[in-house]
Structure formats: C-alpha cells, structure tokens
C-alpha cells in the first residue's frame, strides 16, 4: 500500500480474481494485513498490542451484543436483569464476566499500546495523524466504558454516574443546565440509564470506524519500529503475513491465557463489591471510586484542593472543583499536542539517554496516580497525588520540550538491517567469547 516495493496483489484463484475485479476487497485485505504490507523486520513484542486491542474490541462487541439481548435498560429492573443473565441465561455468567473483564483487558492492552507509542516516539512525524486518531479512540473508549459501568445499576453505577456527570456542573453559569440535560433529570434515573445504554451500544461502532482511519493513516508511512529509523529499502522489511500474523498469533495466545485466568478464576477481582448492591439514591457509598482504568485521572481530578483566588482579596477566580475538572480533561487533551511539544528529531527512546530516565519516572508517576485515585480521598493520598499530578503536567508540558532542546542523542544505526545485524553479531560474539575466555584460563 505504502512502499514502492510492496508486493502487488495478483489473485491466483479465479473466484478471487472475479471478486477483485468487481470489488477490490481481497486487495484491501492483502494490502492491510497480508503479504502486501511490508513491515520493519525488527518489531519487538510491544508491537503486538495494537492487534490485541482490536481483538479486545471484538470480544466486547460480540459479548455485548448478546448481553443486550437479555439486559433490560430500565431503572426498575436493570439490576435484576443482570442477575437474570448471571443465573438463568445459558452461559450468561460467562458472557457477563467476559464483557466486564474484557473492558479491563481492553484498557490494559491500550495503555501498553499508548506507552509503547510514548517511548518509541510513534507520535512523531510522519505519524501524527495515527497518534491523533489514537487519542480520539482512547477518549471514545473512556466514554463507552463509563456508560457501560452505569448499566448494571448497582451502587457504584449510580454514584459513579452522579459524580462524573456532576463534573459538568462545575462549569460556570451553563454547568447546571448541561448537567441536567446530560442526565435527563436532576439525578441519575431512568432517562439517564436509557440514553447511556443507547450510546454504549453506538460508540463501539464509532470506535471501530475510527480504528479503520487509525490503521489507514498508519499504512501511509508504514509501521514505526524500535530503532525509530525509517525503512530504507526492501531488506529492512518483511511481509506482514506470514511474519507478523505468526508473531501476533503467539501474542494473542498469551493474552487469552491471562484473560482466561482472570475471567474464570478471579472474575470479580477488578470490580468493586458495592456494584453488587442495587442502586439506592438514598444511601451514598463510603468511597465512590470509578473502575481502575480511570484511577489516574480521578486522582488528578481530586488533587486540586485550593481555589484560584486573587491574593489578599479572597475573590475566587476559579474554584478548586472546576480546576480539577479542567486539569483532568487537560491531562488527556494534551496528548493531542504531543507531536508538536516533543521536537526531538530522534524518535526512539532507546537513543535518548535523558528522555529514557524521565520516561521511567512518568511510568512510575502514572502508577502512583492510579494507586492514589483508587484510595479514599484522605491524607496522605491527596498530598501524594498532588505531587504526582504536578509531575504529570510538568513532564509533558515543560520537561519534554526542554529535553528535546538540551539532549545529546546516542548515535543512530544507519538502517534497520544494520541494527539487526549488529544485535545478532553481538549475540554471536558473546557465544564465541565464552569458550575463548574459558580456554584462556
């Protein structure tokens, strides 16, 4: 599709020839995930997670569509209809646990996919569009997951909906009307549940559509690779099929094993027990927490405890709650600008000694934020999340541009093939050196 040396589709089977002449679908598949897509030969296992995210979405679509056949989106019966699925629908427990844990696994692979991109500079030219569409997918996933969590109409569903839609009421003047408009009432109720169900069914297909664009835009420059050095010629690539289909097949096996371990042996480990209590508007849970994949952002939201005021006058310019909301949205939206914030011409973090150190800090920082977001809003968690959130913003908006201008990158390999051959030469040298060293003694 992208490179001049990509193999062109020539159907051997007369049926395929007939189809391809009328609808070039076989050609599209061949160019997208077949032998017609040349891919750098040096991709490591971190390049498996895009395919795995696609598989996770498929699992969610299939289980979700069947669950929707048995679920009733009505505040009076939603909770009981989920229990009906768990008890009386054939393999209903399997469908529901697969869907609930499938959401968690979708986020796990997408987070790994995102951090792969952050480390190896996948957001840099000429792949900015791939990254931008990826952030759009991430936002859509978050919206879908949030609305899906409301559907069982348990305590956390109800109060989570209350808190998250309540964020919009922090907007001055128009906040309250927007809040009421989103919920279809003054508090989460039947109207909210119905619209969330409708959108929860719609958005995954929107995600699928944006994924098509994401992959399309990826195929224009072709996949990046761990060295960050662009493909220079056919010797640098292998055809996607069978090389990467085989590697992805192995990665998929590992993914499914881990998924099955949680799904069959600890299916409630990633959920909150309170969601097995039916929604009760009169009883607020002790700690309202979202699902684990929102914890880092929830920590940022709660980290703002001080209003922005004009000093010595006490005039509040921005109340703390609004600051938290703005920061939470900013923490994701800043990813849209990443391609232009990090101006280092070197893509891969492998050759960026300073960047590498700060990247490790960022990973730890996000894990700390996640931990604090899941903890109750008490000290010392609030103070820790304030420091961690400050680092999060500083990392992307201040530190990255500074690194880009002061860092001295390590020398890059001349080409992908050169890097690959150097690596295997080192390996062989090490093997040869061992007996030589033994002989020398």
């Amino acid at each position: 599709m992208s490179f001049p040396w990509a193999e062109h589709y020539t159907p051997k089977n007369p049926v395929m020839k007939w189809v391809d002449e009328r609808l070039p679908l076989p050609r599209l598949v061949y160019n997208a995930v077949g032998a017609g897509y040349p891919v750098p030969r040096n991709l490591n296992y971190f390049w498996n997670f895009g395919v795995l995210a696609g598989v996770a979405l498929t699992i969610q679509l299939v289980t979700g569509i069947i669950l929707a056949m048995h679920y009733a989106a009505n505040a009076g019966v939603a909770f009981d209809s989920v229990e009906h699925i768990m008890r009386d629908v054939n393999s209903g427990w399997l469908l529901r646990y697969a869907h609930a844990n499938g959401a968690s696994f979708f986020f796990i692979v997408v987070y790994l996919h995102i951090f792969r991109g952050l480390f190896f500079g996948s957001y840099k030219a000429p792949r900015e569009m791939v990254w931008l569409l990826g952030v759009v997918i991430f936002l859509l996933m978050m919206a879908t997951a949030f609305m899906g969590y409301v559907l069982p109409w348990g305590q956390m569903s109800f109060w989570g909906a209350q808190v998250i839609t309540g964020l919009f009421s922090a907007i001055p003047v128009i906040g309250e009307p927007i809040h009421t408009w989103l919920l279809g009432g003054f508090a989460p109720g039947n109207a909210s549940l119905n619209r969330f169900f409708s959108l929860h069914y719609l958005l995954p297909f929107v995600i699928a559509g944006v994924i098509v664009l994401h992959i399309w835009s990826l195929h224009i420059p072709g996949s990046s690779n761990p060295t960050g050095v662009e493909v220079k010629g056919p010797q640098d690539t292998v055809p996607f099929h069978p090389y990467y289909t085989a590697k992805d097949g192995f990665g998929l096996g590992i993914f499914l094993i881990l998924f099955a371990l949680v799904l069959f042996f600890a299916p409630n480990s990633m959920g909150h027990p309170d969601n097995y209590i039916a929604a009760n508007p009169l009883s607020t849970p002790a700690h309202i927490v979202p699902e684990w994949y929102f914890w880092p952002f929830y920590a940022i939201l709660r980290a703002f405890t001080m209003d922005l005021t004009i000093p010595f006058t006490g005039l509040v310019i921005i109340p703390a709650k609004l600051l938290g909301v703005l920061a939470m949205f900013a923490s994701i939206l800043l990813l849209f600008f990443l391609s232009w914030i990090d101006t280092s011409p070197v893509r891969s973090g492998k050759y960026r000694p300073l960047f590498k150190k700060f990247f490790v800090l960022l990973v730890i920082d996000v894990l700390v934020l996640g931990y604090c977001g899941g903890a109750p809003a008490e000290e010392p968690y609030v103070m820790i999340s304030q420091l961690a959130a400050a680092y999060y913003f500083a990392h992307f908006l201040i530190i990255l541009p500074i690194i880009a201008s002061i860092e001295r990158p390590d020398p890059l390999p001349g080409s992908i093939t050169e890097a690959v051959l150097a690596k295997s030469k080192n390996k062989n040298d090490a093997v040869d050196a061992a007996p030589a060293a033994a002989a020398a003694e």
Binding site: R41, N42, L43, D80, E83, M86, R87, L94, Y97, V238, Y243, A246, K247, G249, F250, L252, G253, I254, L256, I257, A260, L261, L263, F264, F265, N268, P273, Y276, I277, A286, A303, F304, T305, M306, L308, A320, L323, A330, L334, F337, W340, I341, E378, E379, P380, V382, M383, Q386, L387, A389, A390, Y391, F393, A394, F396, L397, I398, P401, V420, K423
Partner: protein, 279 residues
C-alpha cells in the same frame, strides 16, 4: 507557539498543585487529622479454609444444605433472598420432591383469580424466594429504621465476602474498654450492637446466632456450634451469590488447557516462520 502555550498551562497546573500540596502539608502538620475509632478498631475478616477456595475448589453440598437450614430457621425471619429461585436448590443436592416441599412451605404473592385482589399462594419450584416485607418502609418500620438487606448477593457485595459474613456473625462483642477510653464519644448507641468487623463498628442487627444447638442438624453432621452455623450459612450465601462457580472453574480449566496447547503451537509456528530471518 504550541510549546509556549503548553508550557504556560503546565506551569499553571503544576503550580496550583504544588500550592495545594504545600497548603495541605501545612495543615496536615499543624492540624493532623484526628484518629477515629473506625480506623483503629475495625478488623479485617478472619480467613477460613473454605472448600470452594482455590482454582479447583468446589462447594460442599452437605455444608450448603446445613447453611440453607440456618438461613431458613434464623436469617429468613428478616432477610430475603429474592434473586434465588427454589428450583436452583437442586444444585445443593435436593431432589424434586424436596424442592417442591420447600417451595410449598412458603407463601408467594399472587392475585386472587375470583376477585382480582392481591393475595398469596403456596410457592412452586419456579418461584423465587419471596420478600420478607412487602416494601422497604415496612422493613424499616419493623426493624428500628434499619432495613435488613437482601442476602442473595451479600457474599459478593462485601470485600472478602464469605469470610466477612462468618467473621461478622461470630464477631459481636462488648465494646473494648480501650476504645471507650480513647474515644469516649464512640460509645455504641442504644439499639445498635458493637462488631469490629462492621465498617462503622456499630450494627443494627442483634447477634443472630447465640447458642450452640440453635439449629438442629441432621444425623452425621457436625455439632451445630455458633462458629459451625456461621461457617455453614456463609458458605450457603457464597453459593447464592455465585451459583455458577463450579461450572465457571471447570470451564476455565478446559479453556486454559486448550489455550496453552494453542499457544505452544503458535509459538512453534512463529519460530518456524522466522527461522533464519534475523530480527
């Protein structure tokens, strides 16, 4: 321009957060949060070696039947089990006639076919366990304003559910003298009962299992001590919350064997295809 504006935004948020941190730290040091009785005296559930623990664990049907007996004779006076249908008791090893008898002994809501008035009839196996009180208002009125929760999902609606229920049922005690000395205001209010396993330490429910032999177990069953009855009913409630657990685990074993086999094949074909290709 993007970097300049981004830097300003970053400085603003990071600055506000650091100010918030300093403010929080100062007030934390100058006015540390007061310790609470809940923080110091709340206990985590004691761990029991349940038959259903672990990836191969199964329910012990004799225990579930004893637990059902405890539920029927003690808990069901106040607590409903409305997600569970009588027919599913077949999982516990009851036969059809026994299930029919269990259902028949309970009155379920119905409509009088002659007058159309609300009435009750004897249960049949396809019915679910009926509610104890017609509604929450009646439940609250009969129980000093505390609504006895439905128990169908209780073992999944609390952290470490089965252990929690067992610890709670056997954990009632006098308030420790140390607690009252440290927190004189935390005296258990009139009408509540001290229990360190309950989140806020004071529970509306009176100790339900108080004496050995409160429930008479059948021939060949263990002695109905308070602890034994509490364990049995906790196991029973684990089953009501997760009736498909055994099917889940056995399916899981099969799926894992299949997946491991498939993954080994996938790995071999990956190695085979990449053989001789340096990467």
């Amino acid at each position: 321009m993007v970097r300049f504006l981004g830097g300003l935004v970053g400085l603003f948020f990071a600055g506000m957060l650091l100010l918030s941190f300093i403010w929080g730290a100062v007030s934390y040091v100058s006015d540390p949060p007061a310790a609470t009785a809940e923080h110091e005296f709340h206990l985590h559930p004691r761990q029991i070696a349940w038959s259903f623990n672990g990836p191969l664990g199964k329910y012990d049907n004799a225990q579930l039947q004893r637990g059902f007996q405890v539920y029927s004779e003690v808990c069901s006076a106040c607590h409903s089990l409305h997600q569970v249908s009588f027919r599913s008791l077949a999982d516990l090893g009851y036969n059809e006639a026994e299930i029919k008898a269990i259902a028949k002994a309970r009155q379920v809501p119905a409509v009088d076919p002659n007058t159309g008035e609300a009435t009750t009839r004897e249960g049949v196996p396809s019915d679910k366990f009926p509610l104890v009180y017609p509604n929450d208002v009646a439940a609250a009125a009969a129980n000093n304003n505390a609504i006895p929760p439905d128990l169908s999902l209780m073992a999944k609606a609390r952290h470490d559910g089965a252990n929690y229920i067992h610890s709670l049922l056997t954990g009632f005690s006098e308030q420790p003298a140390e607690l009252l000395r440290k927190f004189p205001d935390a005296k258990t209010p009139e009408g509540l009962h001290y229990n360190p396993y309950f989140a806020n330490l004071n529970l509306a429910m009176a100790p339900p299992l108080t004496a050995e032999g409160q429930v008479t177990y059948g021939e060949g069953q263990p002695k109905p001590t308070v602890d034994q009855m509490a364990q049995d009913v906790s196991a029973f409630l684990m089953w009501t919350a997760e009736p498909k657990m055994e099917a889940r685990k056995s399916t899981g074993i099969g799926v894992l064997i299949f997946l491991i086999f498939g993954t080994v094949l996938a790995y071999l074909s990956y190695q085979n295809i990449w053989a001789g290709k340096e990467h």
